[in-house]
């Protein structure tokens, strides 16, 4: 028998085991998490990297942004804490948007995996926390300092000993310390589980992670290059507008296809704003790369190799490459436009595959006291998605993120609100040869005796999702309080009997009707 030790069969088997190890760790994390965003919306990710921080395997269920950002975070940590400064039992922590996931609401935990005294790889988990202090998340915040606690790159655990100072600082600065720290310890437990599974696998196979990682990366990279190379060389552009504040925000891309590489440049995009919609480069890359992959090669696994042929750039000081201390809590509002803009740029190249623009998710966050107990709740609302050359767009579904709704009964159990309706918003999808999907119509009444602070992230209230190839734009969204339009960038105090209506936009149509 001449099957060598990393032939197409052996590699497939070892890889299956690696992915199942990462999935075991994420299952354990989801079960222990206090965050509704993790449980209901998979707003987390687990990754295993090699010793250079290159991603080898990622959890199967996680949102697209983290697939791109988490390995980059590990590389930042390696630069900050070189291997000689790390010991077995160390655990690292940060929520720095530029190093992490683009906003401070996600805490990332990274653990070096030691074997025989040296580091073989890293386990990393990032997750949206139940609370991070500061003002409630809103697009109106002007600087990062308002957004909550900043955790620089620190050691949370040193050689197995917890740094109580770090824990005390975090606990003192968040609204629900037992939940936020509970989720951090859940992240640590998931890293440890991944370490155990990896060591078992390496013991069984006698293999070295570097070789395995190199082989997997090489094959993924080749497959992605082949997918890009199938496109005609050229520069393709698209200009997309977002509601903005005093004026519209412009996303201008230029997609450069050169052989087997694709570069997306964002020159011409709006300047950074004293609002929380700034999108740091790590996040700009993640969402652009997601669009490339979904359109060109959805079946290639996620790892370092599949992203190597893709690069992005944006001039410093723009909304897609902001300078510190830009606020970024609502970066999804801008980042979520990037995959859509990428597809629209290629509308003439791949007319039968692209999807017309739709609308990303909206949300509302509320905190207060009810029957003697503090609560903080965040809930997502999705919108209509764009049509294709051959079919209608999907109604009320999450894209490009994957954030589910919270059941009405669960919302009402957690906060003093009564949901009046949650309905499909008929006719909101843009017309065309194929119609865009419809948005959502959601209304609730505040029923608590103690007034609560409520903030909204609403998108596409002014700039409608455009159609493609002559299709009509979708209908814009709307936010009202007691029947009056209100500005989602402000914080609102809700009193008993107040009624809020949130309507999300419909997707763009495709082709002339």
């Amino acid at each position: 028998m001449s099957r060598n030790d990393l032939d197409p069969v052996t590699l497939e088997i070892l890889w299956t085991r690696l992915v199942s190890a990462v999935d075991e760790a994420s299952a354990a994390f989801v079960r222990t998490s206090f965050s509704t965003l993790v449980r209901e919306a998979n707003d987390f990710a687990v990754v295993l990297t090699d010793k250079e921080g290159r991603s080898v395997a990622q959890s199967s269920m996680s949102i697209p942004s983290f697939i791109g950002t988490l390995p980059a975070t590990v590389k930042h940590f390696i630069r900050h804490f070189p291997p000689e400064t790390l010991a077995p039992g160390d655990v690292l922590i940060t929520n720095d948007p530029w190093m992490g996931t683009g906003h401070i609401h996600d805490i990332t935990v990274v653990m070096p995996i030691f074997r025989d005294g040296s580091i073989h790889g890293y386990a990393a988990v990032t997750s949206h926390m139940p609370d991070i202090g500061g003002r409630l998340r809103s697009s109106g915040t002007r600087e990062i300092f308002e957004e909550g606690l900043q955790i620089p790159m620190l050691k949370l655990v040193r050689a197995g000993v917890v740094d109580d100072t770090v824990v005390a600082f975090i606990s003192q600065n968040v609204r629900v310390p037992e939940q936020t720290m509970g989720d951090v310890w859940g992240e640590v437990a998931a890293c440890r589980m991944l370490e155990g599974r990896l060591n078992e696998l390496l013991d069984d196979s006698g293999l070295d992670l570097d070789r395995l990682s190199g082989e997997i990366r090489g094959r993924s990279e080749a497959a992605m290059r082949a997918a890009v190379a199938a496109l005609p060389d050229g520069d393709y552009r698209y200009r997309l507008e977002h509601d903005g504040f005093e004026e519209r925000i412009v996303i201008q891309n230029r997609v450069e296809i050169r052989g087997d590489r694709v570069h997306i440049d964002y020159t011409g995009t709006s300047e950074q704003l004293p609002r929380s919609v700034n999108t740091v480069p790590i996040y700009t890359f993640a969402y652009t790369a997601f669009g490339v992959k979904a359109l060109l090669s959805p079946d290639i696994p996620n790892n370092e190799g599949s992203f190597l042929p893709i690069s992005t750039s944006a001039p410093e000081g723009t909304i897609l490459n902001p300078r510190y201390p830009a606020a970024s809590g609502a970066r999804g509002m801008i980042g979520h436009l990037l995959p859509v803009a990428f597809m629209a740029a290629l509308a003439d190249v791949l007319p039968d595959r692209v999807m017309a623009p739709g609308s990303a998710n909206s949300s509302f966050t509320m905190a207060g006291e009810d029957e003697g107990r503090r609560y903080a709740t965040a809930n997502f609302l999705n919108a209509g998605q764009g049509a294709f050359a051959d079919r209608d767009g999907l109604s009320v579904v999450s894209f490009p993120s994957n954030l589910g709704n919270t059941p009405i009964e669960v919302i009402e159990a957690g906060a003093p609100v009564r949901v009046l309706h949650r309905a499909v918003r008929p006719g909101s999808g843009g017309g065309g040869a194929h119609r865009g999907g419809d948005g959502l119509d959601f209304a609730f009444e505040f029923v608590g005796d103690t007034p609560a602070v409520c903030s909204f992230l609403m998108t596409r209230l002014k700039a409608a999702p455009p159609g493609l190839a002559g299709g009509d734009p979708g209908v814009v969204g709307r936010l009202t309080l007691n029947g009056t339009d209100i500005d989602p960038a402000d914080h609102w105090i809700l009193k008993k009997g107040d009624r809020v209506v949130m309507q999300t936009a419909g997707g763009g149509g495709y082709g002339k009707a």
Binding site: A226, E409, V410, A413, V419, R422, V424
Partner: protein
């Protein structure tokens, strides 16, 4: 159902029980003689137009073989795939839905997530009830079950008028917070029943009393959707059985592995969703317990799908959510959520027909696409061009070209080799290397899925005894067992009719649930005890109708708890009688112990919340030993042949003896490598292991101490 409540006069002849299972291809039946455990087997082709015809045929065969008349049959136990198939094929009744004002679109909106991140052209499951067959009602409860807007006469009238105008034959009622207070649903149900006597009515508070309106609405709609069909089917079946002169009861297998009366099954047919697979698991468990082991991994592998289920302490793990009729096979999230107690099975896209392909990265992949039976594996010679697991098994010597399905169908080795060769040429591997690779990969896929499943439950695979069933199960089980490091493997008798043995071995069981998320320290114990005793009275009525002996029923309460703020729950179980003592401390202790077991540590300062109470009544675990009534195991321990078999651990072929399994008498000991053939399957032991024929003719393969 016209079954009398008393048992027929028995006379001196032993009484009989009959199990009938309707499969896609065959309808199988087994009759058991009470007391002796002797069994007879019957079989005929399934009659899809009127499945009852096959049932009559099989029962006639069995009575004929036993030279018995129907008087002696005390019960007929039945498992059915009718509910699953009705949902998959969308041929249920036109169904209406009544919901709280503002929630009419809940079935369309679902949870707003995509089950595949990268698939832009996602197909979503079509709701069972179309938009025009939904009516809203203005009555409203709050989260505590307090009435905010009462249900008045005019509302009831308007709903009844709307249902009348829809012309539906079934209706589901699902109102917000009905899991805490069912009053509005009950009142609507009563009014609708009075006005439309033939309408099948399903109330969410009865079908799935759990928080989360979309999932509860989906479950209740599915129940209503299948109800008219199931009711007619069970009535017809009852008549068939009566027509065969059988006066005994008809009992139906539930997804939870218990069984119930045909009447109760017709009320909540959605509980039969996994009736067939549950019977298979119960059968595997029975084999394990009979051999003295109660920590069991039931493993079944057929043509397209492999299934695995974990049982500890002799009882299968029960899950309380399930997904039916997935749009994309094996893709979690692409189906209709169903909240019912169901044996916790995982399904893997791996079977004899699974097709091997090369993916975009140049790696060999196996499944989940399957060649099915048409065209089937290349070796079937029915035009299949692609290499499958069965083709690999043939080339590796695991299957014999001439004794497949007892020799009824011969396999074409030349076609299998040609298909494997085409794949090998693209990978730079020989035919044998590709075949061994396919077997390796499909075995690893199944082991990986089982490993994650076992880990999610915080258990260690090395503690398990694996029981393998299904046509391809015994062929692959030894290698899957080795990868999981389980200690031993059992292969029960009658692999082809295994579900029937499960039907005969199943204990009576009944489940009820009640959700009301409340902090442990704030529980209203008067309410809890009142609710549980109400559920028990209701459950006892059902057991009585299934003629179970109430004295033999053990009652337990499974309590789902979590730290307030968490989403997932952890279950603890208490005997029913302990609830009266308001065991707060015991509940806290059990919860913290279970939490620590799973996650290493508890959460300091967090408050514990009780979410759902689940009452279960079940007769104690006892195994039944079955033995062939017609001579088996009477031969000598001599091989009928030798053939070359591939040994994966050594990566070479070696000669192995081949035995006719049912010629081997109990107590026979053999050493691997060895092959044991039976009509429906082949047990392949391609390594050194101790093989023994047990007293009930099950085969035990012992791997020794785990590595």
């Amino acid at each position: 159902m016209n079954a009398p409540a008393s048992l027929p006069a028995a006379g001196t002849a032993p009484r009989l029980r009959i199990a009938v299972d309707i499969g896609g291809t065959f309808t199988d039946g087994i009759a058991e003689e009470s007391g002796t455990g002797r069994i007879w087997v019957g079989k005929c082709l399934t009659t899809p137009a009127d499945p009852g015809e096959g049932v009559s045929e099989v029962i006639a065969q069995l009575l004929d073989k036993m030279a018995a008349d129907g008087e002696r049959v005390e019960e007929v136990v039945h498992g059915t795939t009718l509910v699953t198939n009705t949902l998959i094929e969308r041929r249920g009744a036109p169904t209406g839905l009544v919901v709280t004002k503002g929630t009419r679109d809940t079935l369309d909106i679902a949870r707003e997530v995509r089950y595949d991140l990268y698939d832009l052209r996602l197909e979503l499951p079509e709701p069972l009830v179309p938009g025009e067959a939904r009516a809203e009602v203005g009555a409203r409860m709050d989260r505590t079950g307090a009435e905010i807007t009462p249900l008045d006469e005019a509302m009831v009238e308007a709903v009844a008028d709307a249902i009348g105008a829809m012309g539906v034959s079934a209706v589901a009622v699902c109102l917000l917070h009905a899991y805490v207070n069912e009053a509005h649903e009950e009142a609507l149900g009563k009014a609708l029943a009075a006005r439309f006597p033939d309408l099948a009515i399903s109330l969410s508070s009865r079908v799935a009393r759990e928080i989360r309106e979309y999932e509860r609405m989906s479950t209740t709609s599915a129940n209503a959707y299948v109800q008219p069909l199931v009711r007619d089917y069970l009535n017809a079946l009852g008549e068939r059985i009566g027509g065969a002169g059988i006066a005994g009861l008809l009992r139906i297998m539930l997804s939870s592995g218990g069984f119930t009366s045909a009447e109760a099954a017709a009320d909540t047919p959605i509980l039969l969703l996994e009736s067939g697979p549950a019977a298979g698991v119960i059968s595997a468990l029975n084999t394990g317990i009979e051999a003295g082991f109660d920590t069991i991994l039931a493993f079944d592998m057929g043509g397209t799908t492999a299934k695995a289920c974990v049982a500890t302490g002799g009882a299968p793990d029960i899950a309380h959510t399930f997904e039916a009729a997935r749009v994309k096979r094996f893709k979690k999230g692409s189906g209709l959520p169903i909240l019912i107690p169901s044996i916790d099975l995982i399904e893997i896209g791996a079977g004899g027909g699974s097709i091997a392909t090369i993916d975009a990265l140049g790696l060999l992949k196996v499944g989940p696409r399957s060649a099915g039976s048409v065209p089937g594996p290349a070796a079937y010679g029915r035009g299949g061009e692609e290499a499958t697991v069965t083709d690999a098994d043939l080339v590796l010597g695991y299957l014999d070209a001439n004794s497949f399905l007892g020799g009824e169908m011969s396999l074409r080795t030349d076609l299998a080799e040609a298909a494997l060769g085409r794949l090998g040429a693209r990978l730079g591997l020989s035919v044998t290397e590709v075949a061994a690779g396919i077997a390796d990969i499909v075995n690893e896929n199944m082991a990986a899925a089982a490993r994650v499943h076992i880990a999610e439950k915080g258990l260690d695979p090395r503690a398990f005894t694996m029981v393998a069933t299904g046509g391809a199960g015994p062929v692959h089980a030894v290698e899957v067992a080795r990868r999981l490091r389980v200690r031993r493997l059992l292969c029960p008798i009658a692999a082809g009719a295994g579900s029937c043995l499960g039907l005969l071995a199943a204990p009576p069981r009944v489940d009820r649930a009640w959700s009301k998320p409340t902090l442990l320290e704030a529980l209203d114990w008067d309410e809890v005890t009142a609710m549980l005793s109400g559920l028990r009275v209701d459950a006892e009525t059902e057991l009585t109708s299934a003629s179970a002996d109430l004295g033999a029923i053990a009652w337990s309460v499974l309590i789902e708890m979590r730290y307030a703020g968490q989403g997932s729950v952890i279950s603890i179980t208490l005997p029913y009688d302990e609830i009266a003592s308001r065991p707060v401390a015991a509940m806290r202790e059990s919860f913290e112990a279970a939490y620590r077991d799973l996650y290493g540590n508890t959460v300091p300062n967090a408050r514990i919340e009780v979410v759902t109470w689940r009452l279960t009544g079940q007769s104690g675990v006892e195994s039944r030993r079955f033995s062939w009534a017609e001579g088996r195991g009477g031969g000598a321990a001599t091989p009928k042949a030798h053939r070359e078999v591939y040994l994966p651990a050594e990566r070479r072929f070696a000669s192995a003896p081949v035995y006719d399994r049912y010629a081997l008498p109990p107590g026979t000991r053999l050493d691997g490598p060895v092959i044991l053939e039976e009509r429906e399957s082949t047990l392949v032991v391609p390594l050194t292991a101790a093989v023994e024929i047990l007293p009930d003719l099950a085969v035990c393969v012992d791997f020794g101490e785990p590595a």
